[in-house]
């Protein structure tokens, strides 16, 4: 039991995809303009990560080594398509905001990275837990970046405005994404990474 919990916790701290592995930077920088967007992007990636990890760990022994990357991509693309259709059907407004970044999960380094580094060597349950851990780590990181950028850039938290007018616009734009990511990474390394 302890091992299972530590598998999940690893994704938050030791293998935190954003602040330690520095993977999936494209969605991290592009979709964290607000807390809600960051959270939605994180949850979408979590969904794909858990299912692709499980599927890949199940089929890994049967996949010939030479074609394993194309096979993994096809598996991942399947779940991304499922996710895309689900989001279009049930949360069309979120889908419209995240736009291109949902199909781009197919080539997200985190998903392929966990398939390569973990899922093809471990069992289905362990891979699912790893997917949950890393996915939640990604979700929390993106939400935190989104919260900071939303507070500074728009003067609101999860859409609730606490100041009238605009915030510091640079934080809603790309430079703000880099700045916030850099400072949070520094804080993370100082206080959490052991």
């Amino acid at each position: 039991m302890g091992k299972k919990i530590s598998l999940i916790l690893d994704g938050f701290v030791r293998n935190n995809p954003t602040f330690v592995l520095v993977l999936g930077m494209c969605p991290t920088l592009a979709t964290t303009t607000s807390a809600v967007n960051g959270l939605a992007m994180g949850l979408a990636t979590l969904f794909v990560l858990v299912f692709s990890n499980m599927a890949i760990s199940a089929i890994a022994p049967m996949v010939p080594d030479k074609v394993h990357i194309p096979v993994y991509i096809v598996v991942i693309a399947t779940f991304v398509t499922v996710l895309q259709l689900l989001m279009q059907a049930f949360v069309p407004s979120v889908y419209a905001t995240l736009g291109l970044f949902i199909p781009l999960i197919v080539v997200n380094c985190i998903v392929l990275g966990r398939a390569e580094a973990f899922a093809n060597k471990n069992g289905v349950v362990a891979s699912a837990l790893d997917g949950i851990g890393v996915g939640l780590g990604f979700t929390v990181s993106l939400t935190v970046i989104g919260i900071v950028r939303e507070i500074l850039g728009s003067g609101s938290v999860f859409g609730w405005k606490f100041i009238a007018g605009d915030g510091i616009l640079a934080f809603v734009m790309a430079p703000g994404a880099f700045l916030v990511l850099g400072y949070l990474m520094a804080l993370f390394n100082k206080y959490l990474k052991k």
Partner: protein, 321 residues
Amino acid sequence: MDKFLVSPPPHAHSPRTTASLMRDVIIALLPATIVAVVFYGWSLVLVLAVSVASCVLLEWAICKWLMKRPFECPEAAVVTGLLLALSLPYTTPWWVVLIGAAFAIGVVKMTFGGLGQNVFNPASAARVFLLVSFPSYLTHWEMPQRLFGADAVTGPTVLSLANEGGTQALANLSQMGWHPLFAYVGGSAGEISVLALLVGFAYLLLRRVVKIWIPLSIFVTVAAVSAVFHAIDPVTYTGPIFNLLSGGLVLGACFMATDYVTSPMTSKGGVIFGFGIGLLVMMIRYFGAYPEGVSFAILLMNMAVPLIDRWCHQPKFGREE
């Protein structure tokens, strides 16, 4: 710090310290500051006070609580504060100035390691940050409400006119109160008098605080580029005199581009650095979306400084390259 330093000879002593150099820069900025205060009045005094005070206090606080080391050279923070205030319109609200100062010191200077370690010029980086973050305040130019007489009137800057309508829009400049060497209608506080800036810069040159190469190379490049474009199409492109004397060019070239930390170490490097800035300024003014690009150009060339320094590296004496 140790009381006794042991180091190999030769030992050269110089009365110059970073603090004394920065004091000279402050003195050199005084003429422009005084002219601007006379022209813009108390609202500029507020901008100056907030900017300088918050730069100094913030650096002191970061040194004391975050970096746990002595606060060296408050003069450098004063220079940053002065330059930032002079590169803003005098109507900027105090809290915007405060955010700018926090960005200049907190992000651009101290995050990179403090005095002497920053990659970008803090004042121009903060100006760009504010321009991107608060475009409405940073491009809102009011005609100076002088200490005596005249109500405030909002108007475009000469550069924004030129950006929209080419030279034809500038036909009645003199009627608008524009005079190349002294005050003109709108713009950042420090741009008010080219003459006062040049007087201050002459003082720096006489005191041998800075070398002339960087500003000279910027001015020559700007003049050459605008002369060529003006000769090709005088209607669309403004001429060299106008480009040299308008906007933040003199302030940026003489005081921001010559910042020791963020400019190349050799004179040859300085010429290349200045050429890059001059070229970028003219490209932004002629073809960019913004009417003025001095601070953007300085920041872009700041990034190239390590490369320029490597290229212009002087071999140690007695060694072959």
